[in-house]
């Protein structure tokens, strides 16, 4: 049996810009969740999630020791921060869209706990 969880329950996200390219990355709160995120988030899924916001390709890179996944979104800022009419000129909210994606986990899977109002960090 399986259930669905939003990525945001498993990983922190941040994004930044360089010209007309953004990099949007996920840091699992619990290092052991890297594998399931890696398997279920191929670049095609991420590109699909962003729709018309991303005109170019999506590349993916893994950091095996710090346990993080970096997605590079090409042509994702309408020319770049200094030219775009978009409200989020620097693409700093793109991580949230990534976190809206869901992953399939076993029914008995427990996401990382929330302690004192924040996710527990486990490495």
């Amino acid at each position: 049996m399986a259930k669905s969880l939003k990525v945001r329950e498993l990983a922190y996200a941040r994004s930044g810009d360089k010209g007309n390219v953004t990099n949007v990355f996920l840091i699992p709160y619990r290092g052991s969740d890297l594998e399931l995120l890696d398997e279920q988030l191929p670049p095609s899924r991420v590109k699909n999630q962003f729709g018309e916001l991303v005109h170019g390709e999506v590349d993916k890179y893994i950091y095996p020791n710090v346990k993080a996944i970096n997605f590079v979104l090409h042509e994702s800022l309408e020319g770049g921060a200094t030219q775009t009419l978009a409200m989020d000129t620097l693409g700093r909210n793109q991580g949230f869209l990534l976190q809206e994606l869901t992953v399939d986990v076993p029914d008995d899977f427990q996401p990382p706990q929330t302690i004192d109002g924040e996710k527990e960090w486990i490495r």
């Binding site: 010209g19 018309e52 993080a68």
Partner: protein
């Protein structure tokens, strides 16, 4: 030098507008050896080039004086060397200004070095730049750009290390690699060879983790319900403790807000990096992929595992051109049907206005591009906005336009103003803004076409007839 030495490098700022109060607190309370400061972006460089064009004695950072008047006496007292790109488009003039401030503060033995040679606009004009190669931010082949402002090469370590060897206390750069500013102290102090690629890459990783200031210690991180960052109003800037063997720690001053944790350092490590195995700098191609982080105590993280490969064949150039103007006007309404009101304004009023603008204005205004979004609803995520659960208490329509001239943007915004009042009931007074736009391109230049120079200044003693030290040419 003993092999067990370490140095402490503090981050002084992430850009020109970064808070000076924070830097002053760092310099007063912490025992750092170097203060490195990023004071540039493409926008600041654009403005600085124009200031220099208007007045050849200007073109350095607009708030250079404010910064040094506050920070210089504190740094001098603690024997802290300051390295920063305060020079922007005119480092030599910036250096003279710092020497002047030092004289006013009676710090006569201060040695100031400004580094020049980043402006390669003439090479651009002569068609000497190429656009093939591993670049980020590259758009089209930038030849004969309309509205060309300047072409500045990213310079690296060597002039800064030379300045440190000559006992400079303050080093002003133009368009240097930000990370290189933070790598220079380690290369100098520990005698790392320029071709010890792993060490040079490590020095640049120190830079990468510190160059964004508090962005690496809790700024742009807090995520309510998921990640907490204490005391946002007093975030402590990052400090790196670097050892001669290349191991380093990231920490922050005590009695400050923010956090240095494996999560915050990871978040800075990955920021603005595309392929972690090939992170290009003027002096090295760094590999961050196999970095390891370890929380050794509260607010202190050890960083290891950085390696590097030989520096790129060519240097990266930042090309700036004027790109017209962006005008925006925000209209808004309150009430339980605020979202419907905003949507009504968008479809029944604003879209029609933009479609018919020239008939309505009875003149030729060219709207090159436009966007109409509802703040709180679809302004950030646009077509990918998640479903709203429930309505909004208040909603705002933002109309943004791109025009070639400021006058055209003004005409359109002035014309639209009354529509903020003539739409649905409750329209607030519209808020208008016009900003210049900029086109930015990357290109490559041969190292043979770049000549960096170090220029030395000393503060004048009252009544002295000494002249400033002569320029020295470096390779």
């Amino acid at each position: 030098m003993t092999q067990d030495r370490s140095i402490r490098i503090g981050s002084g700022s992430a850009n020109e507008l970064d808070h000076i109060f924070r830097t002053a607190k760092l310099v007063k309370q912490d025992d750092i050896d170097y203060l490195c400061c990023d004071r540039m972006s493409e926008t600041t460089l654009n403005n600085a080039i124009k200031r220099k064009n208007d007045d050849p004695t200007k073109g350095y950072g607009r708030n250079l004086a404010e910064f040094f008047e506050q920070i210089l006496p504190l740094a001098y007292e603690q024997d802290i060397t300051i390295i920063g790109n305060f020079g922007q488009a005119n480092p030599e003039a910036g250096g003279k200004k710092v020497a002047e401030i030092a004289a006013e503060l009676e710090l006569y033995d201060l040695d100031v070095c400004s580094i020049t040679g980043n402006d390669v606009s003439d090479v651009y004009q002569n068609g000497g730049l190429t656009t093939d190669g591993p670049l980020t931010g590259q758009t089209d082949d930038p030849t004969a750009l309309e509205g060309f402002v300047g072409a500045h090469v990213y310079s690296g370590l060597q002039p800064m290390v030379e300045a440190l060897e000559n006992d400079a206390d303050v080093i002003l750069n133009g368009r240097s690699s930000d990370a290189a500013m933070y790598a220079a102290p380690s290369v100098f102090e520990f005698d790392w060879a320029f071709d010890d690629w792993d060490k040079v890459a490590t020095g640049h990783c120190v830079g990468h983790l510190l160059e964004c200031g508090v962005h690496g210690t809790g700024g742009n991180i807090a995520d309510p319900g998921y990640v907490n960052i204490p005391d946002l109003a007093d975030l402590g800037p990052p400090i790196a403790e670097v050892s001669s063997d290349g191991e380093f720690f990231v920490t922050k001053p005590p009695d400050t807000g923010g956090k240095v944790s494996e999560l915050t350092v990871t978040a800075q490590l990955l920021y603005e990096v595309e392929d972690p195995e090939h992170y290009y700098h003027p002096d090295v191609v760094a590999n961050f992929k196999h970095a390891s982080l370890e929380q050794v105590e509260e607010n202190k993280v050890r960083v290891t595992g950085i390696t590097g490969k030989p520096k790129p064949e060519k240097l990266k150039v930042n090309i700036i051109a004027d790109g017209g103007f962006k005008g925006s006007i925000i209209m808004g309404w309150g009430g339980s049907n605020a979202l419907e009101k905003a949507e009504l304004q968008r479809t029944e009023m604003l879209e029609q206005r933009l479609d018919n603008i020239n008939e309505l204005l009875e003149s030729d205004v060219e709207i090159l591009d436009s966007k109409i979004n509802i703040l709180g609803y679809d302004a950030i995520f646009e077509e990918q906005s998640p479903e709203l659960e429930g309505g909004l208490n208040e909603a705002f329509v933002r109309t943004a336009i791109k025009t070639k001239t400021r006058e055209e943007a003004e005409r359109v915004l002035n014309f639209l103003t009354m529509d903020g009042f003539w739409g649905p009931v409750g329209g607030i007074e519209p808020i208008k803004q016009i900003q210049p736009l900029m086109e930015v391109y990357s290109a490559l230049i041969s190292r043979d076409d770049v000549e960096m120079q170090t220029n030395y200044e000393s503060p004048d003693r009252p009544g002295s007839s000494e002249e400033p030290a002569a320029d020295e040419v470096t390779g």
